[in-house]
């Protein structure tokens, strides 16, 4: 009976250890976004965005008749970083309050005056040049916004306000972030119960705890395989290259702690099972 109970507790411990690892990794990815001001994007993502902005400007330049070099002098890395800060604030509003705040916008005045000078020097008349320059500046500004925050903002805002009328999104997110600590507490409780049941031969409990750790490694590995097979990454990459870069950075920030945790579990499993075997080997000798 005691053995059956120990196996049952080990089974629950395996599931809880896996749940803790996955929820911990997800929380590590989301948590920076909850800080005031949101999370700044990495340099790698900003480089990808800058390349996409350059490509878009080169695509728009012949259509509106402005010089791509002029636009790139105005659209600097600092301005892109500022747009990213605004986007981070927008995400922060969703994660903390469950409501989309003010949508980021690229100020196009400087671009418009630079484009107007370009169009006039190319032979355009004054008033037409100003109108065309304003159109071109708006097109460039919109493209930059789509690269930094490639979402249909009105649809997302509407969806969030509809959801907010039914549920408290901020509370749900903080509840989900708390799941990892509940799982950790449950892990400690289950491991403690196994040790208590095998209190006469404490080493026996190492067998169950080690097995649970090993099983958790297998479950986490299976989750990663299922995620890879789901094809979510190619789906997002196909929808938007900039969103793919942002999502990739988010996944990486979750993957590193998850891999470390899995390695720790594997090491724990090996140590526990080796320690469990050792006294028997000593007796056998």
């Amino acid at each position: 009976m005691k053995k059956v109970l120990c196996w049952l507790l080990a089974f629950l411990l395996a599931g809880t250890l896996a749940l803790f690892g996955i929820s911990f990794a997800c929380a590590r990815a989301v948590e920076p976004g909850l800080k005031e001001g949101g999370t700044p994007v990495s340099e790698g993502v900003q480089r990808v965005e800058m390349n996409l902005v350059r490509e878009k400007i080169e695509e728009l330049a012949p259509i509106y008749g402005f010089s791509a070099e002029t636009a790139m002098k105005v659209v600097t890395e600092e301005k892109l970083a500022e747009m990213n800060r605004q986007a981070a604030l927008w995400w922060n509003g969703i994660l903390v309050n469950g409501q989309a705040g003010e949508a980021p916008a690229f100020k196009t005045d400087e671009l418009a005056s630079a484009f107007a000078a370009d169009i006039v020097s190319a032979g355009g008349s004054g008033e037409d040049a100003e109108l065309l320059a304003a159109d071109a500046a708006n097109a460039v500004g919109e493209s930059i916004l789509r690269i930094v925050l490639p979402l249909r903002l009105p649809i997302v805002g509407r969806g969030l306000s509809e959801a907010a009328a039914r549920v408290d999104l901020g509370n749900i997110i903080s509840f989900l972030l708390g799941v990892r600590w509940a799982a950790l507490a449950l892990c400690a409780l289950l491991a403690g119960l196994i040790a208590l049941l095998e209190s006469r031969k404490l080493r026996e409990s190492l067998f169950y705890i080690g097995s649970a750790m090993g099983a958790a490694v297998l479950v986490i590995a299976a989750c990663l395989v299922l995620y890879a097979l789901s094809g979510v990454d190619p789906l997002i990459a196909g929808a938007s290259p900039s969103l793919s870069a942002q999502y990739g950075a988010l996944v990486n920030s979750a993957a590193i702690p998850l891999f470390l945790y899995t390695a720790l579990l594997l090491a724990g499993c090996i140590v526990c099972l080796v320690l469990f075997r050792r006294p028997h080997e000593a007796k056998a000798d």
């Binding site: 089974f11 789509r146 789901s230 094809g231 929808a239 099972l273 469990f276 075997r277």
Partner: protein, 52 residues
Amino acid sequence: MSTENRKPGKGIWLAPVLLALPILAAMTLIAIRFGPLIVKLINAAVKATVVV
């Protein structure tokens, strides 16, 4: 698997696999049953909200 009186063999290394087996089986069944639906939902959400 007795863990009390006789020396455990190499079989102890199979214990984690046996323990994970029910969870893996449940995950596989859920993935087969609901996986395509979840992917379809994600696909629809991406198409509806992401600017191409």
